[in-house]
């Protein structure tokens, strides 16, 4: 007889503890794994703002002005900063995953080194894009 997988088990057995917290020694790979998911979900929510942004451009100068105004409020800038870092983190760690997918850099040393490279690269790329936005004059 089979039972539905979602049904409550007859015996409650101990569960494997969560990868982060007091049970395991800290590892960069587990932290980045969950960060990849969290930034992924954050970026998925961010697509709502991207859609509203381009639709406001199609709607005309007044709606676009409202969106641009909101983007430049402290909350808007904080969201943009978070979005840009989340994107660059997911971008860099995603490339790390693609490298693994083709079979490279799977040994413990490379996995750890790659993790730290991703952390540094995501911060550097975020700094570069904000420096361009605020320090380089726009060219048409």
């Amino acid at each position: 007889m089979s039972s539905k997988p979602s049904a409550k088990p007859a015996v409650s057995r101990p569960l494997s503890p969560f990868m982060l917290g007091q049970y395991y020694r800290f590892q960069i790979s587990s932290l980045l794994s969950i960060t990849h998911r969290i930034t992924g979900v954050g970026l998925a929510i961010g697509t709502i703002f991207i859609a509203v942004w381009v639709m406001s451009a199609a709607a005309g100068p007044a709606p676009y002005g409202q969106f641009a105004w909101f983007a430049h409020t402290p909350i808007g800038l904080l969201l943009l900063l978070g979005w840009s870092w989340a994107l660059f983190f997911h971008f860099c760690n995603g490339i790390r995953h693609l490298v693994w997918d083709v079979g490279y850099a799977f040994d413990k040393k490379s996995v750890d080194a790659g993790g730290w490279i991703v952390v540094v690269a995501s911060v550097v790329l975020t700094a570069i894009v904000w420096a361009i936005a605020y320090l380089v004059p726009a060219t048409a």
Partner: protein, 127 residues
């Protein structure tokens, strides 16, 4: 070798649909497409100061930018949809809630994707 198929699977008599890795594979393909597209997107926003309306409209009138943006939106919304689906499948245990939230999430992704592409084309084809 012992038959590993379940009795129900035996009774149904259906074979593999041969699409077992499709979700995984498309997630990688869209990821690959997003490497150049997302870099171009973020740096364009910063470089051209797109907060200004007339700059934004001029940017969307550029056919290269408009086509790249449409490609970016297709890859982005598809990739996002596949990723959120895996997260829901992993964390939502109740069957009806899992299926329901995946269907709703997919509808929202298609709606946002269609609206984004339409908005770009409307400006691109406009005067």
């Amino acid at each position: 070798m012992k038959n590993l198929r379940s009795p129900l699977s035996e009774a149904r008599g259906l074979g593999s649909a041969k699409d077992g890795v499709h979700h995984w594979w498309v997630q990688r393909l869209t990821a690959l497409a997003l490497i150049p597209l997302s870099l171009w997107f973020v740096f364009s926003i910063a470089r051209y100061h797109l907060a200004d309306y007339s700059t934004m409209i001029a940017w969307l009138h550029n056919p290269y930018a408009a086509v790249a943006l449409v490609l970016y939106f297709i890859a982005l919304f598809y990739h996002s949809m596949l990723g959120v689906q895996v997260v829901i499948e992993d964390y939502v245990a109740t069957e009806w809630l899992k299926i329901g939230s995946i269907v709703l999430m997919k509808f929202v992704h298609f709606a946002l994707g269609a609206a984004s592409v339409f908005a770009v084309l409307k400006v691109a084809f406009g005067a």
